[in-house]
């Protein structure tokens, strides 16, 4: 649907190098990356606001690299809404329709439909300035999708909103995508957003696509240390493969043994990646399917709302993310001796 081939572009302090992406019809594709990675530039290249230094962009089997934005059939939503301040909400939404040759009654029908879908019909006569952030972003969305674009491009659409509104609009985005089935490219630095919305994720770091995969692949099997760190794998521990039988791998870390599933060979130096939420804490060794369990001392307890981050020293440092309730129920405190356990399949190995 959207094919990006060997795309290169330098612009101000941003640069994109050899970007190759193949986004499928109807897919919700999230480009995830830290600030300054070039995410917006990539989106603006797809939209045609910038021209690539090298490479091609194809939409719907057509090479659009030299087409102007108005002929690419895209809808675009910016982080800061970018509503036309001198027009009413209704006029904003009708802007694109008026440029098409459709009848007045058709236009009424389509704006009404979209207004009902997003529950903003009562705002049509207001000026955008008088709207809340969430309402403005809904209007921006309505304006973009009412023209029935073949591609919807979203540039950090939820970043300017407060937490509550963000939750609501996130669900709204999913609903719209399910109903309208528009191929969507959404760029963000927010992992939760990516995990919640994406069919597939492309991780963009330093102007290059580091990894493409499903949310599960990205978060559980990051391709390298930089991606692992960025997607919140807080435990990255160096070790050496001690044995590998039928995929059941034993990694030695300072004499401690961790079991995992991998295809690495004996003697390989690897990094053990383990998400902190995959670590459970208890005072006694339970029977469970967790193959790895280590005795350790709690060195830090950091409450984070519903969750609590606990740092455990098991001979190697281990971060665990557990619920506030379990911390309270168990009465976990700094200095306590605990058993930290995790499953072999929760462990991901990288070079």
């Amino acid at each position: 649907m959207i094919e990006i081939k060997e795309l290169n572009r330098n612009w101000r302090e941003f640069s994109l190098t050899n970007i190759n992406l193949d986004i499928k019809e109807g897919e919700y594709f999230v480009v995830l990356g830290p600030t300054g990675a070039g995410k917006t530039l990539l989106l603006e290249l797809i939209a045609g606001f910038h021209h690539p230094d090298r490479g091609e962009i194809w939409i719907d089997d057509e090479n659009v690299t030299s087409l102007p934005p108005e002929e690419r059939g895209i809808g675009f939503v910016y982080q800061d809404y970018s509503l036309f301040p001198h027009l009413t909400v209704g006029e904003n939404i009708e802007f694109g329709l008026r440029l098409k040759e459709i009848s007045e009654s058709d236009m009424r029908r389509r704006t009404k439909e979209i207004g009902d879908l997003l529950n903003i019909s009562h705002l049509f006569h207001r000026s955008p300035r008088t709207l809340s952030g969430g309402e403005q972003q809904k209007v921006a969305l309505a304006r973009a999708i009412v023209i029935e674009p073949s591609v919807l491009l979203l540039d950090e659409p939820l970043s300017a909103l407060d937490a509550r509104t963000r939750d609501v609009l996130r669900e709204e985005l999913r609903k719209i995508h399910r109903e309208a089935e528009i191929t969507t490219v959404h760029v963000t630095h927010d992992q939760t957003e990516a995990m919640f919305l994406a069919d597939r994720i492309g991780v963009l770091m330093g102007g290059e696509i580091a990894q493409v995969g499903t949310p599960g692949e990205i978060f559980n099997a990051p391709i390298n240390e930089r991606v692992a760190e960025f997607v919140g794998v807080e435990n990255i521990i160096e070790g050496v493969i001690e044995s590998n039988e039928d995929g059941v791998t034993v990694i030695s870390i300072n004499g401690h043994r961790i079991e995992a599933v991998s295809t690495y060979s004996v003697g390989d130096r690897v990094r053990v990646c383990l998400r902190p939420e995959d670590v459970t804490l208890a005072f006694s060794r339970e029977r469970s399917s967790a193959r790895n369990s280590f005795k350790g001392t709690i060195t830090q307890v950091v409450p984070l709302g519903a969750l609590t981050r606990v740092r455990v020293d098991c001979g190697f440092p281990l971060m665990a993310l557990v619920t506030k309730r379990s911390v309270e129920d168990l009465g976990l405190m700094e200095g306590d001796e605990v058993i930290a356990s995790f499953k072999a399949i929760a462990v991901h190995l990288i070079r």
């Binding site: 939209a47 606001f49 108005e70 970018s82 694109g96 440029l99 304006r143 973009a144």
Partner: protein, 263 residues
């Protein structure tokens, strides 16, 4: 506020400048009204004076229209595009502010005079020296920077992402310009046009060199001053400044100038 000594001092120093400007104009007007009110009335009844005021406003209006037609596109390009040599272009735009007025007059005379680069080939169609087109050309030269700079500021204040969005919605660059950018920058453009018009009306040095006749009011004032002295020229000056301030205040009010809107 007892701790705002510095601000009080600053306000006091500022009042000097303000008093200088206000006093200078007010004193002239009041002196005229109190000492020689009948002279003012006579002047206001003199059709020669009104013809010259009308000529001044008319030529200034023409100059502003030309500056608008050619200056607004340039302002848009300067606001939206980065290119090599942009600083030079911006410098050229500001040059007329810097050129001494009589020098501008001499330069325009060289170009638009009967033997000039442009004046000669056009000689059988348009006469610039001592003619209305000469006045317009002189006014245009000195007033364009005001329009271009204000319009450029206006276009810069419009987020280019609004244009981007408009284009994804199917608008061509031109449509995005006249539906979105121009309306949003309109106030700045209007303010620029007002300043440009005012600057055109105020010009004397460049105009007097290329076109002493037909006499615009600033020239008329000078001519009366040289020939008959202060008391003969002052009523005309008072009349012109009243006309100017009225127009200026009216247009400024319409444009709704408030600095923090502009910045």
């Amino acid at each position: 506020m007892k701790h705002e000594k510095m601000l009080m001092l600053f306000v006091l120093m500022g009042l000097f400048i303000l008093a200088f400007i206000v006093l200078t104009l007010a004193n002239m007007i009041i002196t005229q009204i109190t000492l020689d009110f009948s002279g003012l009335i006579d002047t206001a009844r003199d059709s020669t004076i009104w013809r010259s005021i009308w000529l001044t406003l008319y030529t200034a209006f023409l100059a502003t229209v030309i500056a608008f037609i050619f200056g607004v596109p340039l302002a848009y390009v300067l606001a939206r595009k980065d290119f090599f040599g942009k600083g030079l272009i911006e410098g050229i735009v500001d040059v007329p502010v810097v050129v001494p007025h009589t020098v501008a007059g001499i330069a325009l005379l060289t170009v638009f005079g009967t033997h000039g680069l442009i004046g000669a080939p056009l000689a059988s169609y348009v006469k610039f020296v001592d003619a209305l087109p000469g006045i317009v050309v002189a006014m245009l030269f000195v007033s364009t920077p005001f329009l271009i700079n204000s319009a450029r500021e206006g276009f810069q204040s419009v987020d280019p992402r609004l244009e981007n969005v408009a284009r994804t919605l199917g608008a061509s660059r031109w449509r995005a310009f006249y539906k979105i950018t121009f309306p949003l920058a309109f106030r700045h453009v209007l303010v620029g046009a007002v300043m440009s018009f005012a600057r055109a009306v105020s010009e004397f040095g460049a105009v007097v060199v290329i076109a002493y006749y037909p006499m615009i009011t600033p020239t008329l004032i000078y001519e009366r001053y040289i020939s008959y002295g202060l008391s003969a020229s002052r009523p005309v000056a008072v009349l012109l400044i009243l006309v100017c301030l009225t127009i200026f205040i009216t247009l400024r009010t319409i444009a709704g100038v408030r600095r923090h809107d502009r910045d």
